[in-house]
């Protein structure tokens, strides 16, 4: 009789389980199209997020902050490109375009990007948001210099003309200022996208090697084949310049003076970095102190370009207390600080009033450092956890021990 009842309960539970399986499967089928749509949107969002980093690191330098194109590089933010087929876009990116500065990016063609990364860039071109892309490029400190080109310093250019074969060097400097400076940097000192060409190791290379590199480019890097763009005599002039760069005065090929773009995030980042690293000496508002000069003054801000500020922070000022920050902070961090400092320009006073005081023995100084004791970091969860653990184990131990003593008597 008892067996029968429990058997009936089992059958009832089994029936309920079966009903449940059928029910949830039915519900799931109804929800599946919606789930697939959400999943697709989620994947696209992740890919677009990744692709903005890829764009900032690889493409922004030529195609611009927001895909607008710089100089002769085509814009990417246009509807025609957006409607191109994924396969064509992927092929263009991975294989490059012959006779243009577009190199092959796919790993299969000697480039740095995997097929998956190329897919992500295609997603960016087809359905990305170029405004957020711009913010991403700025926040990563990878905004390209626009314009691409710079003007050689006229006085120093004349000096170069006085050197032996000066005319050849002058031609080369003009070509470099127009074509190479965007990647190889002011005075050929290199940037984060291309190596320095003003370096001893490069100088030691043979003229043939250098000519070949410029003519044919370097596979797997941004270095395009320049034989289609430059005349042979320009290339040979550039080779001469590279091999004799030690004779060229510093500052002949200056960086173009353009304001660094900022975003709200980069300014917030710059603000917190400034108060953490700079305010000790330069004052919380940049008003200066006994230790370091004021920055938040009209005279400083109007005469110092963003590039100059960046260079001062990166390399420090030798002979003063201003240290080299380039080894401790990323370029993005330094650019964020520059952007934050630049903000003061509109409100900067004519004369700064530096911070005073702060001297004297430590116990006479007012500190804002909070004195937290270790017990203040205890919260109720730790107490509950420890109490529960102790309670459980002591219950187990005492029950176990009592039973153990009893069991000893039984046998």
């Amino acid at each position: 009789m008892k067996e029968n009842r429990s058997s009936r309960i089992e059958i009832l539970i089994g029936t309920i389980a079966t009903g449940l399986i059928v029910l949830v499967l039915g519900l799931y089928i109804l929800l599946e199209p919606g789930r697939i749509q959400t999943a697709q949107a989620g994947t696209l969002a992740v890919q677009l997020d990744d692709s903005m980093n890829l764009y900032a690191e690889n493409c922004a330098v030529c195609h611009g902050l927001r895909g607008e194109g710089i100089g002769s590089t085509p814009p990417l933010n246009n509807p025609a490109l957006r409607s191109m087929s994924s396969i064509d876009l992927a092929k263009t990116i991975s294989r490059g375009r012959l006779n243009t500065a577009m190199p092959a990016w796919g790993q299969g063609d000697g480039g740095p990007l995997s097929d998956y990364q190329v897919t992500e860039l295609v997603a960016l071109i087809q359905s990305g948001n170029w405004i957020t892309t711009k913010d991403r490029v700025v926040n990563l400190g990878l905004s390209p210099l626009v314009p691409f080109t710079t003007e050689p310093d006229p006085a120093l250019l004349d000096k170069v003309g006085a050197l032996p074969d000066g005319a050849v060097l002058q031609t080369a400097i003009k070509v470099f200022s127009a074509q190479c400076v965007s990647c190889h940097g002011a005075d050929g000192l290199g940037t984060k996208i291309a190596p320095a060409v003003n370096a001893v190791l490069v100088r030691e290379k043979t003229a043939d090697d250098l000519t070949l590199t410029i003519k044919l480019g370097r596979a797997g890097t941004l270095m395009a084949a320049w034989s289609n763009v430059l005349k042979p005599e320009e290339i040979s002039a550039l080779v001469t310049l590279i091999r004799r760069w030690d004779e060229i005065p510093v500052g002949t090929i200056p960086a173009p003076n353009v304001p660094l773009p900022t975003t709200p995030e980069s300014i917030a980042q710059g603000s917190s970095l400034f108060s953490a690293n700079c305010s000790r000496c330069h004052g919380p508002e940049g008003q200066g102190s006994q230790r370091a000069p004021a920055i938040n003054v009209k005279s400083v801000l109007t005469t110092t370009s963003d590039q100059a500020l960046q260079q001062i922070i990166t390399n420090g000022v030798p002979g003063t207390a201003m240290p080299v920050w380039g080894t401790r902070m990323s370029d993005a961090d330094i650019q964020a600080i520059v952007g934050f400092i630049r903000q003061w320009e509109t409100t900067a006073p004519e004369v700064a009033t530096p911070v005073r005081g702060g001297g004297g023995p430590a116990w006479k100084q007012t500190t804002t450092q909070s004195t937290t004791q270790w017990w203040q970091s205890l919260d109720w969860r730790i107490l509950v956890g420890i109490t529960a653990l102790l309670a459980i184990s002591f219950t187990l131990i005492s029950t176990g021990y009592t039973l153990l003593k009893k069991s000893g008597r039984v046998l």
């Binding site: 058997s7 089992e10 059958i11 539970i13 089994g14 389980a17 079966t18 449940l20 399986i21 949830v24 499967l25 799931y28 599946e32 789930r35 697939i36 999943a39 697709q40 994947t43 992740v46 990744d50 995997s114 097929d115 998956y116 897919t119 969860r381 730790i382 653990l389 102790l390 459980i392 184990s393 002591f394 219950t395 187990l396 131990i397 005492s398 029950t399 176990g400 021990y401 009592t402 039973l403 153990l404 009893k406 069991s407 000893g408 039984v410 046998l411």
Partner: protein, 467 residues
């Protein structure tokens, strides 16, 4: 010819072959049906009523078999959507999630069943252990079960890599790192398994073939053998109450026919668990992170959860001790159990005896306190390498801490033996409960309390994983 009965049609004849006209209602008829039935050749015709109790086996072995079946079915479906090559594998998982109807559900089912299987297999082992059911004549089946548990871990581990996301990549990197601590052959073995110096497309292909062919084939063979041995060894061990085992009275048993008594319970259990797993898989997503990137290692990089106890031990012992000697001793001990335990009594009694039950409680309670205390001490106070700077690390950071934690255990064991006259199997229970609780605690600490740099953090203060 008889004109009254019409010739059955071909359809009728086919149906008659498939469904008997009427199901037998008497025991004799049912037994006949079982003997005649190919599907039911697995079970004996009659079984003791006691072995049907839920509270004895908890249906763990059967559930493991059900999970295996779910894994086989979902696994075959997943095969149709998968390419075992380096970036494509990840794209295929994305495609499965984004474009395939029920794709995500199938993946979730496979993922959660695989993880549940590990827990269930361990619980099954524990049930057999604490009831003494591994004793002769079932010692071979115990060994088969241990082998299958290791294979299930292997299957799960190899499957872990297949999605080719960051989680998979770095968990396998950490997990295979443990293998390289095996003396002499460690590095060679790691290279063999990885198909190169690090996790790569070759590893993916290696793991794929192991995951979909080699391991499942072996498990399938062992499973059949395991089932067959259950029957050859006289069915399940018979559950007994404490009183029965203490007084030595042989329990009275009724033998029930397998159909419907056992089969109904099996079907019920299967249905309930399928419903539970299905609902769980619909609600909880299997994890999937960004595509595997060898250049960006997450901090902390953790092994799969079931190896976190091992990874945690590596933080406290020299690798040779933590990763090889201790787990090796544990597995050897598990294998030797049926040959160490010479007491034929008390089989079928949970925790063997009154004293056994008390000892298990005591051991679990002690371990629950001692293990976190040891972890905290080792993190903040102990510094063997610093105290013994000229000693080899294997001794200062391996054998000495091993001795330090073994000593109290040996003393406890001695105390239990002398003061309470515990038998061998009770002492084995005591030590095993202590060590198992310690392993579970270490696993929990490893999973929930370890943050960046594998430093201790509280779960609610855990900093986000950095790179």
């Amino acid at each position: 010819m008889n004109d009254d009965i019409p010739e059955p049609s071909i359809l009728d004849r086919m149906r008659n072959r498939l469904t008997p006209d009427e199901l037998p209602t008497d025991d004799r008829g049912r037994m006949r049906m079982v003997v005649d039935s190919l599907v039911l050749h697995l079970h004996p015709t009659k079984i003791p009523d006691r072995t049907l109790r839920w509270t004895y086996t908890w249906g763990l072995g059967g559930l493991a078999a059900v999970l295996m079946t779910i894994l086989a079915f979902t696994g075959v479906i997943l095969l149709n959507n998968y390419t075992p090559s380096a970036p494509q594998a990840y794209l295929d998982i994305l495609k499965l999630n984004d474009n395939v109807w029920f794709g995500e559900l199938i993946r979730n089912l496979h993922h959660w069943s695989a993880n549940l299987l590990i827990i269930i297999a361990v619980l099954h082992l524990i049930r057999v252990f604490v009831t003494g059911a591994y004793r002769p004549p079932r010692e071979l089946n115990w060994l088969l079960g241990v082998a299958m548990l290791l294979l299930v871990l292997g299957a799960n581990f190899t499957g872990y890599l297949l999605p080719w996301d960051q989680l998979a990549y770095w968990a396998i990197t950490v997990g295979t790192g443990i293998i390289s601590y095996i003396p002499l052959i460690g590095n060679w073995l790691t290279r063999l398994i990885l198909g190169g110096p690090e996790v790569s497309g070759n590893t993916l292909l290696n793991f794929y073939s192991m995951h979909i062919a080699i391991i499942p084939l072996i498990i399938f063979g062992l499973m059949s053998y395991h089932f067959w041995r259950v029957r050859k060894d006289g069915g399940l061990s018979i559950p007994k109450s404490l009183e029965e085992s203490e007084t030595g009275v042989e329990p009275k048993m009724e033998r029930l026919t397998t159909i419907p008594n056992l089969v109904q319970k099996e079907l019920l259990y299967t249905l309930v668990w399928i419903a539970v797993i299905l609902v769980f898989a619909m609600l909880v997503q299997a994890p999937l992170e960004g595509i595997a990137n060898p250049d960006i290692s997450p901090n902390p990089a953790k092994a799969p959860w079931y190896f976190m106890g091992l990874q945690e031990m590596l933080l406290h012992f020299h690798p040779l001790v933590g990763a090889i000697i201790l787990p090796g001793l544990a597995i050897t001990g598990i294998i030797l159990l049926p040959f160490l335990d010479i007491n034929p009594k008390n089989v079928g009694v949970y925790f063997r005896s009154r004293r056994g039950r008390a000892l298990v409680l005591l051991a679990a309670g002690l371990s629950l306190i001692a293990t976190p205390a040891w972890v905290l001490m080792d993190e903040y106070l102990l510094n063997w390498n610093g105290w013994l700077p000229t000693w080899p690390s294997l001794i200062s950071n391996g054998l000495i801490p091993l001795a330090v934690i073994s000593l109290p255990l040996i003393l406890l064991d001695d105390w239990v033996r002398k003061s309470f006259h515990a038998d061998t199997e009770e002492r084995v229970l005591f030590i095993a409960s202590f060590l198992f609780t310690a392993f579970v605690v270490l696993t929990i600490i490893g999973i929930f309390f370890r943050g960046p740099g594998m430093a201790l953090y509280l779960p609610w203060n855990m900093p986000a994983s950095s790179h």
